[in-house]
Symmetry: C2
Subunit: 343 residues, 2 copies
Amino acid sequence: MARCPSNDTGTRPVSMADVARAAGVSQQTVSRVANGLPNVNEQTRQRVQAAMQELGFRPSYAGRSLRDGRYHSVGLCVNDVTKFGNLTMIDGIASAARERGCAITLVEMSKTEEFSLAEATRRMAALPVDGIIIGMSRMAPDFETFDPLPGIGTVIVTMYAHPRVTTVDSDHYGCSLLLMDHLFELGHEQIRYIGGPSFSVDEQFRRAGWQDALERKHIEPAEPLEGDWSANSGYEAGRYLAEHDRSMTAIYAANDQMANGAIAALRDSGLRVPEDVSVVGVDDSLDDFVAHNELTTVRFDLHQRGREVFEHAVPEAGTAGKTVAIRIPGQLIIRHSTAMLRA
Amino acid sequence: MARCPSNDTGTRPVSMADVARAAGVSQQTVSRVANGLPNVNEQTRQRVQAAMQELGFRPSYAGRSLRDGRYHSVGLCVNDVTKFGNLTMIDGIASAARERGCAITLVEMSKTEEFSLAEATRRMAALPVDGIIIGMSRMAPDFETFDPLPGIGTVIVTMYAHPRVTTVDSDHYGCSLLLMDHLFELGHEQIRYIGGPSFSVDEQFRRAGWQDALERKHIEPAEPLEGDWSANSGYEAGRYLAEHDRSMTAIYAANDQMANGAIAALRDSGLRVPEDVSVVGVDDSLDDFVAHNELTTVRFDLHQRGREVFEHAVPEAGTAGKTVAIRIPGQLIIRHSTAMLRA
DNA sequence: AGTGTTATGATAGACGGGTTCTTTTGTCTA
DNA sequence: TAGACAAAAGAACCCGTCTATCATAACACT
C-alpha cells in the first residue's frame, strides 16, 4: 500500500508534498512535472517522476475537483441494468462519454423499492457528477411535480415531455407508425398487438402508435394482448391469437423477443409466417440469439440517443436552460417475416 | 441555476458558507444541520433548512472526499458494455455495490484501441474510485508484467491467475467438465466442440475443459470449430458438422447463442435434437429470446461473482494484501436438448 | 559588468466540508 | 447573587491541488 512513509498510521494516501520531500524539491516543481508544464530541468523532472513511481503517487481526484469545480463524470440512474433498453442506453452514453473524456457513475435503483425521480436525484446529487441522467422506464409517481435540482443538468430518458426537464428517448410512438405503414402497404388491416407490461412507458407509446395508426384508417383496433417482453409471453399470446382470431393477418409485437415467441406459436399452430400471418417486432435485438433472423423490425440509433442525452446533461455553452423533448426516430428494417396479403 | 448570489460570475455552486450567510448563522451550524448533529436550536435548524432549500444547496462531493479520503465508488473497466459477459458482470457488481452504499464508475475502453492493463489502470486511477475492477475478456499484452497500482485495491476479472493481483471469474473450465460429465453419463463420446473466437479468455478455458475431459477418458478430441459467439456462427458450424461428421452424437457449443444456432442447423439438416444429437451450451441466456427454451446449459451465479469481485476490490479489514484466484462454479441446468445415447 | 533567460523555491490563497477547541448565552440551583 | 452546567454558535485549521506572486539563484550573451 502506497502510504506516506512519514505518516505512522499509514492511512493517508501519497500527496504531492510527500513526493516533493522524497525528491528533494518543492511542491510546485512536483506540480509542474505532474501537469507537464515547461521550465523544469530534465534531470529534475526525472528525479520527480522516479519519486512518484516509487511512492505510487496518484493525484487526488478530490483535490483537483474541489479546485476545478468539475468532476468529468455524469451520473446515470437505471432500475435494472440487464434490461435491453437500459443496456443499450448505457452503451450509447458510455461511448458519448468516452468521446468527451468523461466517465459514467452508475447507480442502480433497487428493483424492489419504489422508484421516484426525487429519490433518484437525491442519490445522484451526492455523487461526483456534472450532470444527471435518469432512465424512467416506468412512470414515476412524482413525474408531474418533479423539479430538477438547480445547478446541475438533468435529463430524463423517457417519451413523456416535461415542462422543466429535458427528456430524450427513442421514438417509441413513431416506430409503431413505421411498422403499421409497412403492414398497411402490404394490404394488412387486421393487425393484432402483443404489448409489454402496461406499466412500461415504452409499451404505452408503442401501443398508442398502433392504436392511432389503425384509427386513422378507421379500423377498429382489436383487444391488445399483454406480455412481459419475454419470448414465452409472446408464444402464449401467439397461441391464443392463432386459436381465437381467424381474421387476423398480421401481428405487431412490441419487441423482437415476443415477436420471436409469437412466430414459434403460429408455426406450432399450423400457420405459416409470412404467408398466412405477417409478424413485426421492435429493437432489432435477435441477431446474436437466433440464426437466420428474418424478423421485420425497427432499429434505433442508440449511440445517437446516448450522445443527445449526454449533450443535454452536461451542457457546453448555449444548450443550457432550454427544456426540450427529443425523440429520435427509428429505422424500419424489412426482412422476411412480412409479406403482401394474399388476395 | 443555483449559484451563490454574491458571486457575480455565477459559476460557483452553493456552499455551506453561502447558506450560512443567507441564514445568518455560521458555517459550522450549517454543517451541524446538514449532518443531523445535536445541539442546534429547533428554530435555527428550520431557518438553515429553509436557506438550503432556497439556494439549492448540495454538499460538495469533492470537499467531503478530500476530508474523508474515501470515494465510496469502485471503478469498472470493460471493453464492450453490450457483451453478455460484461453486462452480467456489471449487474452483479452493481447489486453488490448497492448493498454497500457504493456507486460504480464505469469506463469503457475504446473498442478499436489496443487494450492493456496499464492503460486501463492509468485511466481509472484518475477517477474517484476506492478500488479498480478490470474485465479482461481477452488476454492483455502486459498481463504477465503488470503491477497493480500500490495503494488501491485491484481485481482482474479473468480465469488466469496472477502472482500480484487477485483474479475472480466464473469457472469457465469447470463448466465444461460439468457438461462433459453429463454427456458422458448419457453415453456420449463423440462430442464436437463449437467455440468462440480464440482470443477470448472464456473460450480458451471452456475449450481446454472440453479437451481435458475427453483426454481423461482417452478419447481423441476431434477438431474444434471456431465461431464468434453469435447464433449464425453456431448455425454454420452445426451445418458443417451435420454434413461432415456422421459419428458425432453430441455438440458442446461454448455459449447458448451458438448452441441455439447449431440446433437450428441440425434440424434443417434432418437431424433430431436430442434423439439423434444432444446439444449443450453455456450461460443460460436464452430465456428472454426463445420460447420454450429446452437447452441444457450451465448457469453462473453472477451476483455472487459480483460480490466477490467487489469484496476484493474494496477490502474491509483482513482481506487486504492477499492475492488469490477465485473461480466460482456454475450450476448444471438439465433440460431437454440432451438425451441418452440410443443403443 | 550589464542584461536577459531559465530553473527553482518560498509563501499564500482558493476551493468546501468536517472536526476540535473555544466562547457566548441561557437556565437552574445553592 | 454567585456558581455550576448545558446548549448554541463561532473561530481556526486540515485535507490536496493548482495558481499567482515574488524572490533567488545560475547561466549565457553582449
